[in-house]
Symmetry: D2
Subunit: 101 residues, 4 copies
């Protein structure tokens, strides 16, 4: 029943196409936001807290990308792990990722 | 002694130039990292957890930018707030930022 | 194949006994740690940062309890969700819990 | 101008009495909450996610204690650090505490 799984190369366990597209769209927007912070930093008068607020906003946007991909991963791959026999590998991988998020 | 402070427009409380340059350099590198995730997402076979790992790495890089700016802000502005008389404003601003980091 | 699941009352989905015992042991120790902070607060000279350090240590201990239970839940229940047919419920529940951890 | 500061023993930098009382009250309530989780764990049927929800609630309560003490520390001690000359020490201490909160 168990199936050999290469760490970081799980054939068949690919990211859902709709989620992939949503993640891409959000990361493009996030990259624009980072460009905005870079422009703020051109201003010699820039106030620390205004930079911190923008950094926090990008952090929030990045977390939403992570949640999107994590939800899809739980839904598509973790919930079916017992059937494939790679539960231990997937759970170890996840717990590592969830540390110090 | 107290000095009026406009929220979000604190004249004189500007980000230290060396920190500004360091933050800029880090954000440029981080933007490159986001581009790397976008390229990963072009691959139909991409594995969820590989995306999550990269998202987490960018998150870490972003947090280091935040720590850099926060440290400078504490050092330069918060530690001198009593002398200027804008302690309440700076502390409220900080506590708001530190929520749900 | 799908099975009705009452939110918050999942018969059969009980916490593994060994994990339950480990969590209990850790929470007893954590309660002792909280008592230690309460004794610190009896001291009029107590320094803020010493309290913050202890609060952070308890936070770490609490997170380890959470990780323990989460790992067991992923291993025992989420990985078998497709077989039982309650994937959506378990994933929604988990994503809600992982917000702002 | 600079004043010698022993790490972890800052005479004069004591926690504000009102904040100390508020923190104590909250920690007593939090200890009761931990007792509640311990009673949950006596139940063999306890569901993982119900434990995780309670752990998260205690975490939230603990964070509010931390925020309370941190706000007081910023207000009373960090904002006056330049006057006393212990800015570097206080900022280093704070940045260490804010890591991986």
């Amino acid at each position: 029943m168990a199936r050999a799984v290469n760490a970081g190369h799980c054939e068949g366990l690919r990211l859902d196409p709709a989620v992939r597209e949503d993640a891409r769209r959000r990361l493009l927007s996030l990259r624009g936001h980072v460009d905005g912070i870079l422009r703020m930093l051109d201003n010699e008068q820039v106030y620390c807290v205004d930079v911190l607020k923008q950094v926090k906003a990008v952090n929030g946007a990045l977390n939403r990308v992570g949640e999107l991909v994590l939800r899809s991963h739980l839904q598509e791959h973790v919930s079916t792990a017992a059937q494939r026999g790679d539960t231990h590998h997937l759970v170890d991988e996840l717990m590592e990722l969830l540390k110090y998020r």
